[in-house]
Amino acid sequence: MQRMRPSVAATRRLSAVALTASLALLGACSTMGEDDPPETTPEGSPAPERVVLVTHDSFALPKKLIRAFEAEHGLTLEVRASGDAGTLTNKLVLTQDNPTGDVAFGIDNTFASRAVEADVFAALDVQPPSGAERFVLPGATNDDGDPVLAPVDQANVCVNVDDTWFEREGLAPPETLEDLADPAYEGLFVTPGATTSSPGMAFLLATIAEYGEEWPDYWERLLANGVKITDGWSDAYQVDFTQGGGKGDRPIVLSYDSSPAFTVDGDQTTTSALLDTCFAQVEYAGVLSGAENPDGAQQVVQWLLDEDVQAALPTSMYVFPVDSGVELPEDWARFAEQPSDPATVDPEEITERRDEWLREWSDLITR
């Protein structure tokens, strides 16, 4: 090792100081130390009681509404949002005896009966808004016959078309599921897969509702007609759909009945939903049977059904309220038309046969 010259040594001391300083800075950046709100305030008076809402990753509501709820009930609302509706359901089933929260929102009609059967939910004591009775899940009661799930929002998964594309090509857009297998529309349709996406699953259920046990035959015709199957909704809509963010080249896509409200160009929307191809999706909320704060949980469910939250659903979560008295945003009222008679499949049957249907569907598309 050489002996250091003074100037070199000075530079090194300097860099050592710089290093220490940057380490200290990094330390200040850490998440530690500002972790949880303290359980008690410095004076020792108890902090507001906590209520934990477990939900999926599409959950979003304006902060203003959450703060108003907290102020009104003297509660702190903690939201744990992760995964899709399936992940949420299975999480609740697996943690049934020691849940990660007090109340759950976001289980849909394709998964709900699995959770109800596993006794995830306790009896509900809430006042449903007018119109909500249309969306009550049959059989969603506990052993005493009390309801355990309250419908909160609804939307339909429908095939969407790019009207401008069909106008330009001088082709009449398709209208029914049967049309999608018509050679006139060969190679134009893109949908997310049933195994990897919940709207994809809803579309499979729509075809099962329409064709019954003959659905594999319909899917074979769809495949022969060049349907493209992607991983998730964003791949189908944003990449392959002609009106999506990436300007793809397929003018028919699986999306929602509300999607046309998002493609408004000036005074018109450039897309429309095919109302004869829809499958109804309803999302529910319920109080968890192992809740630490059951009263707070009941209040959260009631809050989700209140007019303010119901009115915020379209802009925050892209779904329709179940309250028929709530006014919709202008774009929605004008462009997001809902089907009058969407397809449905008995929730119990979905729970029983989901595995079989998905297995058969996967085998079909990989053949």
Binding site: M1, Q2, R12, R13, S15, A16, L19, L26, C29, S30, T31, D35, D36, D57, S58, F59, A60, P62, E78, V79, R80, A81, S82, G83, D84, G86, N90, K91, L94, T95, N98, T100, G193, T195, T196, K228, I229, T230, D231, G232, S234, D235, Q238, V239, D240, G245, G246, K247, D249, R250, S259, F262, T315, S316, Y318, D355, L358, S362, I365, T366
Partner: protein, 549 residues
């Protein structure tokens, strides 16, 4: 008084205790919990269902595809990464540091955004659509290479940088062709690092289910995507347990093979302070290879940047200005800027944990063993800390929920769970970067230091630290990047009011509306730029003693 070997063994166990405890609590317990639910459904031991799954023809297809795609991608990543590792670490040319930092960008980009970028390039309407690659295995392999090539560059480059060039120069002086020098001198010296990198890349590829699904569509199933489907959708835990067990055994087999391949007769390597030189005419193959890699890696990134600058069919910065907001129609709970801050803070914690634990692990597994029992033990420990890479994030995530839920391990609500999960992901990267270098130190140097009166700490500072410093920096940068980009575990554990940037990007791209799409792309570009900036800053840090070598 304890005997010498017993004391050594005790010291080894003491050093290993902390890392073993961390990995035990946050990995072994949760995964074992999930496996137990599958093998003991309703409390009764019923391995029949598990065995039945293994006999399904679909399982065989899925296994084969996983092994095939991961192997091909690993070979491609190594072949493309080696020239770049050389050019970026041994040669001196303008923008070298920037390129080095920028090549780490793919590693942190969220899969869903890269998937969109790739598909815009390769899709039927994209500029490369004529190749017809969309939804094919080629696209999947390309995606896997894109994400993982930086692992090869970093791991091998770090070892290559300080390699003594004199043996190679001597061989050349004795008349060896450049190819002969590479084959007989350089590559053998680099073998531990290359095998390390390839192992990590293979594990990443074999468990990266996002790339397979997005680029291949549901048509191609890998073990990982199958476990995801079985756990989150079908709740078929016996089947998921069967595949997880296969995954575990496969990883163990791979690790033992890798350990054999890594073990060179004489791991000691003469190390020098790096002296990068100007490129010569003979360097053109490496430079050309680096150039090719740059083109391949930048194509999807350019697509992202271009997309982020388009607003309503015209050029503009509107998407970037919107990052301070919560998206059109309140798509987000917090603005993107806040999520970025959260990402950086979390990454600092995760990096600190990964480095601390990783350094301990690397020290434990590289110290020269006396006797077979000790060597075995060190080998076992080495493999043990790689396991988190080979097991599905879904299994781990669900395992957290069902096992860490009661005192003394009531950790489900702990805010530190996110950085801990990220540190677990980064840990093998840190270990695999440090081990080849530490193993390359001639133990006689330590003995010499000891006989001159240096204590263990002093030996560490004067012998180990000077050569480990640069790889340690590389590992820190790596861990930081891995943490910034981590999505699977983070999305599962992050709280809604404190999401990280990848979680927010995922959310934006999942909502209709041109504004949200543009913001997702802009936020990805910001994530990429932040990564590059952090990498550049890390590389500029210097430690006082290194220059003295």
């Amino acid at each position: 008084m304890l005997s010498m070997p017993a004391r050594r063994l005790l010291a080894l166990l003491a050093l290993a205790a902390a890392p073993v405890l961390v990995v035990g609590v946050f990995f072994v317990v949760p995964v074992a919990g999930m496996l137990a639910r599958g093998v003991w459904p309703d409390g009764d031991f019923a391995p029949g269902a598990v065995l039945e799954v293994l006999a399904r023809p679909r399982t065989g297809r899925v296994l084969w595809f996983t092994v095939w795609s991961a192997s091909v991608a690993t070979v491609c990543a190594v072949l493309l990464g080696l020239p770049a590792a050389y050019a970026l670490h041994r040669l001196e040319f303008p923008l070298r540091r920037l390129l080095r930092a920028a090549l780490l960008v793919p590693f942190v980009l969220p899969t869903v955004v890269v998937g969109v970028a790739f598909r815009q390039l390769l899709g039927e309407a994209g500029p490369l659509g004529f190749l017809g690659l969309d939804g094919t295995p080629v696209a999947i392999v390309a995606g896997l290479v894109f994400f993982n090539v930086s692992v090869v560059i970093r791991t091998v480059g770090g070892a290559w940088e300080t390699l003594d060039p004199r043996p190679a120069e001597a061989a050349a002086a004795l008349g060896a062709t450049p190819w002969q020098v590479l084959r007989t001198v350089t590559l053998p010296a680099l073998r531990p690092a290359i095998v390390s990198a390839a192992t990590v890349v293979f594990l990443f590829c074999a468990t990266s289910f996002g790339v397979v699904l997005i680029l291949g569509g549901p048509r191609y199933a890998s073990v990982e995507s199958e476990i995801y489907l079985l756990t989150t959708n079908l709740l078929d835990l016996p089947a998921a347990a069967a595949l997880s067990l296969v995954q575990l055994f496969a990883v163990l087999a791979l690790l033992s093979v890798a350990a054999r391949l890594r073990a060179v007769p004489d791991p000691t390597v003469a190390r020098l302070a790096p002296r990068p030189r100007r490129p010569r005419a003979g360097d053109w193959p490496q430079l050309a290879g680096t150039g090719l890699l740059l083109v391949l890696v930048s194509a999807p990134i350019v697509t992202l940047v271009v997309g982020s600058l388009r607003v309503d069919g015209a050029w503009g910065l509107g998407n970037y200005r919107a990052l301070g907001s919560v998206g059109s129609r309140d798509a987000l709970v917090v603005p993107v800027t806040e999520a970025l801050e959260m990402s950086l803070r979390t990454a600092v914690d995760a990096t600190a944990m990964a480095l601390l634990v990783g350094l301990l692990v690397a020290l434990v597994v590289t110290r020269r063993s006396r006797g077979r029992a000790e060597r075995r033990l060190r080998g076992l420990l080495d493999g043990f800390f790689m396991l988190p890479l080979g097991v599905s994030a879904v299994t781990l995530g669900f395992g957290f929920l069902i096992t860490l839920d009661r005192p003394p391990l009531d950790l489900r609500d702990a805010g530190l769970l996110v950085p801990i999960a990220q540190a677990l992901v980064a840990l093998p990267l840190v270990v695999r970067t440090l081990v080849p270098v530490l193993a390359g130190i001639d133990d006689r140097q330590r003995q010499a230091a000891a006989s001159l009166g240096a204590g263990p700490l002093r030996t560490l500072v004067t012998v180990d630290l000077p050569v480990t410093w640069r790889p340690l920096l590389a590992a820190a940068g790596f861990a930081f990047a891995a943490s910034l980009g981590e999505f699977g575990a983070t999305a599962f554990l992050a709280r809604d009011d404190r999401p990280t940037l990848p979680v927010v990007i995922f959310r934006l791209i999942g909502h209709p509306g041109a504004m949200n799409y543009g913001m997702a792309l802009a936020a990805s570009v910001v994530l990429a730029a932040t990564t590059t900036a952090v990498m550049l800053a890390v590389e500029r840090l210097r430690v006082p003693s290194v220059g003295a070598l």
